[in-house]
Amino acid sequence: MSLILLTPFDLALAAGLVLLLALLSWRLHLGVERRVLVAAARSAVQLSLIGYVLHALFATTHPALIGLMALVMLAAAGWEAMSRQKRRYRGAWGYGIGTLSMFLSSFSVLVLALTVIIGVRPWYQPQYLIPLLGMLLGNTMSGVALAMDSLTRQAWDSRGPIEARLMLGETWDTAIAEIRRDSLRSGLIPIVNAMATAGLVSLPGMMTGQILAGSPPIEAAKYQLLVMFLISGGTGLGSTAAVWIGSRRLFDERHRLRLDRLQPADGKG
């Protein structure tokens, strides 16, 4: 069994479905036809571009270029994680906490996987590194964004109870401990759910792709399992780091709750 190559005509047929959806939206006055078309066009352009970029990258295997690509992916993930926050940290922290946490977790899990588990040679071979990093970053990003959003929202809403504990002489980490645990849990729930339902409800995207490309299903399942374990490790580490740094930043050295370090909900200031 080998990969059947898609022709532009095949893709055009599939795109017809999107056009149908846009038509439906127009007829039913859903008002999303423009957004559907723009999103479809964006995905076409972005995916074609990344296809060419990866094609060039796989041909060179130049460490500096691969590093640059990894950094661009990290920067985009950091931006996305920040834009999902209702109340962001002011200044560089808003971007920095999430990005640093994702860097620490995704990159360390990635290097571990490439060198010890899979044993790719050289370990930075882009055919393995880039897709794995993409999956790690994508999932870690969701976990970090959920956890930080929960942390800052709850701290904002619970100012009274947190300060009540501080007034009685508790330390900052006791006063925020429950909120911290709760935020970490909300960051971990998506990947835990994904692991629990994998194979029952849906075939994960990566496994589907490998099967379509002609891999034996057993091998595809093994790779999918590996990736899920990597993702859960990465998400756990990343969310923990983000919640730890984030909650520390909510207090100063005199154990005062510093909500002035968050921006108002409308994102201004």
Partner: protein, 198 residues
């Protein structure tokens, strides 16, 4: 026995405050709403960043870790907040006698916070503060939501605690009768400054 001394404490909305309370002294503070009474108490408890220094019994605040300072100089805010489900979860040690002084039986430790009335919350918050044995008390409207019998209970308990432990008490009170009845030094915020009440 601990006195409290403020030097150059400048919360938002007030000029620098210098004030000295002897051990076991009670000072009332009043002033129009928004004049900075609450912010002054919060500043003394080191809850907001501000310039100035406070001494408790000759020990500089900045020389102590903030949690220890707040255990010794404790603010009772006007609105009491609770973080656990039951009253008893907020009392790490025995609280029976304190609760009895405020008119609560031992069963009150099993009550759900969500079912307390405003007045019950206010009295229980005082018990929670005193159970920590603070050396100085900062009271913000400690009797605002209480009926006369409970107001008297709270006043009697604070007075007994102040005398027994020699605690300095800075008490924000809107109630002129209360300030006159209990007596002692009375200050009012006027034009961003603390002045003796006329």
């Amino acid at each position: 026995m601990a006195g409290l001394r403020l030097q150059g404490v400048t919360p938002r909305g007030l000029d620098a405050v210098d004030l000295e309370l002897a051990a076991g002294e009670r000072v009332f503070l009043s002033g129009p709403s928004g004049s900075g009474k609450t912010l002054l108490l919060r500043a003394i408890a080191d809850l907001d960043p501000h310039p100035g220094e406070v001494w408790l019994d000759g020990v500089r605040r900045s020389a102590l870790p903030a949690p220890e300072w707040r255990r010794r100089v404790t603010l009772l805010p006007a609105e009491a907040h609770w973080w656990a489900d039951l009253v008893g979860d907020h009392f790490p040690g025995p609280a029976g006698p304190l609760l009895a002084d405020l008119g609560f039986g031992p069963e009150s430790l099993g009550w759900a916070i969500s079912r307390l009335s405003t007045g019950e919350r206010q009295r229980l918050a005082l018990a929670r503060v005193l159970a920590n044995r603070p050396e100085a008390l900062l009271l913000d409207e400690a009797t605002a939501n209480l009926d006369p019998p409970n107001r008297e209970r709270v006043e009697a308990l604070v007075e007994a605690y102040r005398v027994e432990h020699g605690a300095a008490v800075l008490w924000v009170s809107h109630d002129p009768d209360q300030r006159a009845r209990l007596g002692g030094r009375r200050l009012v915020i006027h034009d961003r400054r603390l002045a003796p009440e006329p």
